[in-house]
Amino acid sequence: MTQQNNTIVEIRNVYKSYHRESLIVPVLHDITFDIAEGEFLALMGPSGSGKTTLLNLIAGIDKIDKGTIRVGDVDISTLSETELAHWRANSVGFIFQFYNLIPVLKAIENVELPLHLTSLPTKERRSHAEMALNLVGLSHRMDHYPGEMSGGEQQRVAIARAIVTDPTILVADEPTGDLDRVSAEEILSMIERLNTEMGKTIIMVTHDPRAAQRAKILRHLDKGYLNDDASQNPL
């Protein structure tokens, strides 16, 4: 199958199952769809529908059983663990529900962490990290540890860390799931701006309809099946 010009993620006939001792639990069945460059896609579905698994497969932190996933020019389903690690470092930005910052690192150090896998000199790494923190409005919190910040602030630091390497795609797994309503709105606005103003391709897993409303495209998963075509978000 040829890739369309503006397709950044191409998912073809993907199957995934988990092994629980002798039991095989199928999670995803024959998933096929594309994500266009600059898209903001929300993957929705009930708990256990396989949306986080699909996000993990697209982000290269889990491996498919069958099928192909192509991101940009790279067929990530053929990459080894080491190659996947290099690819993730260069191509994917991660935003998680529980922020997942390193507790012993300050905000600026957390943001700088992925840049240590690049060839950037120390000074540039620091200026890139400062810029990213500035972008999420946390330049005044640079020297604070995650434990000294609110949930919303920690998630903003996580966003800064996700964008600091200028990745091809941004994946967000329930990014507002652990936040109060006000903080959640702030974070969603920030993610939305990353898409609209910076043109970032964003794939977001959520079961929160308010969060999903910010996305341009909605896709629904149920019991491991992609149950409809992409629908344009009413907003």
Binding site: N56, I61, A85, W87, I102, P103, L105
Partner: protein
């Protein structure tokens, strides 16, 4: 650099747990160091032995004497430079608990043979001039408050009766590894008394100390001495001073082995403690390691983080343990000076401490590292929250 920052901060993140683990390691290293020092002090006589000194004794057993007349024959053997001789006296000062080694020797040649016993020439002259004179080691004189000119009475356990001596000299060790708790007096004094009491036992020595010109001729000289007295009434057994001293250590070999085993048990226990700490730490940080892997860091980086943390905790405990070993050994050495005249923490013991700490750090980190590397990122991330 960032990884180093993480591993250093991780190591002391849980202050209580890290402190207790470090304390445990420090105590274990201290115990290990002291036990090793006990062993090395046991061997201090062997270590201090010269390669140019031989010991000749009765071939049947050390408890049987040799005739004094052998001295001249030994002196004539090629390669022999000095011949001295002596007996174990086995005297007790006031009561038995005041034990210290005491020998009667031929003082002029004996101090020539043992330059590590440093004796002031004037004191040596005074000793030679007084048949009842004796020389004590510095520590021994300090222990009983003896001063030059003091009369000291020993109660003989082998040569019965009270024997009075006059302190004519106090020797110092050439360095701190030399035993300064010995007591030497004139063999002639003992021999004269024996001559009067039981003439059959007179003119006998317990051992000959022989100085040779070069260490490499020791086997030939030893063989020549023993051949010279073959088929005599008192055949001889000649060996290097080191082998002679080792023979004494071998008699208490079981105790040394027991101490060695205890020292390794100490290390094993602390290894289990550190391994447990590292396992808890790694389990607690499974999420962090998964994030680090998610960001693109590999197995090598995770290995550095876990092994590094284990090394930092163990090294900190090890350094504290080593620092504590010196004052502890000093206090231990003071209270057991009668049994361990030389109780010094050797460089070898410190190397053992460091090697043990390194081994603990590495072994304790292997399984947690393997687990952290092998766990799927998705499973690791699931543990957060």
């Amino acid at each position: 650099m960032m990884l180093l920052k993480i591993l250093f901060r991780n190591a002391f993140h849980n202050k209580l747990r890290s402190s207790l683990t470090i304390l445990g390691i420090a105590v274990a290293i201290l115990a290990f160091g002291l036990l090793r020092t006990v062993i090395s002090s046991w061997y201090s006589g062997v270590e201090a032995a010269s390669t140019t000194r031989l010991v000749t004794r009765n071939a049947i057993s050390i408890i049987f004497p040799l005739p004094i007349s052998y001295q001249e024959k030994i002196r004539q053997i090629a390669g022999v430079k000095i011949v001295s001789y002596g007996n174990w006296f086995g005297g007790v000062y006031i009561e038995e608990k005041n034990f210290f080694p005491n020998f009667c020797v031929e003082p002029k040649t004996y101090f020539q043979l043992y330059p590590e016993f440093v004796l002031d020439p004037l004191q040596q002259k005074a000793l030679l001039a007084d048949r009842k004179g004796f020389v004590a080691g510095r520590k021994l004189a300090e222990r009983f408050g003896w001063k030059i000119g003091d009369t000291v009475i020993l109660k003989g356990t082998i040569y019965l009766g009270n024997w009075d001596f006059v302190l004519r000299g106090i020797y110092h060790g050439r360095d701190e590894t030399i035993d300064e708790t010995q007591f030497f007096f004139h063999w002639t004094y003992l021999n004269e008394v024996i001559k009067k009491r039981s003439p059959n036992w007179a003119d006998k020595v317990g051992f000959y100390m022989i100085g040779i010109s070069r260490p490499d001729i020791a086997p030939d000289v030893a063989l020549a001495i023993d051949n010279a007295f073959k088929n005599s009434l008192a055949e001889t057994l000649t060996e290097t001073e080191k082998a002679f001293n080792q023979g004494f250590i071998a008699m208490s070999g079981a105790i040394v082995t027991a101490i060695q085993m205890v020292s390794f048990v100490v290390i094993f226990i602390i290894m289990a403690v550190v391994a447990n700490t590292m396992a808890m730490t790694t389990r607690e940080r499974t999420g962090d390691y998964s994030i680090i892997k998610t960001l693109g860091f590999g197995a090598k980086d995770i290995t550095i983080l876990i092994f590094g943390e284990s090394l930092i905790i163990t090294a900190t405990g090890c350094i504290i343990g080593i620092i504590l070993t010196f004052p502890a050994a000093k206090a231990f050495g003071h209270s057991l000076a009668n049994y361990f005249p030389v109780f010094l923490v050797s460089a070898e013991t410190i190397y053992y401490d460091i090697a043990a700490a390194f081994l603990i750090a590495v072994l304790a980190a292997i399984i947690p590292t393997r687990h952290a590397i092998r766990i799927r990122i998705a499973d690791g991330l699931r543990r957060i929250g």
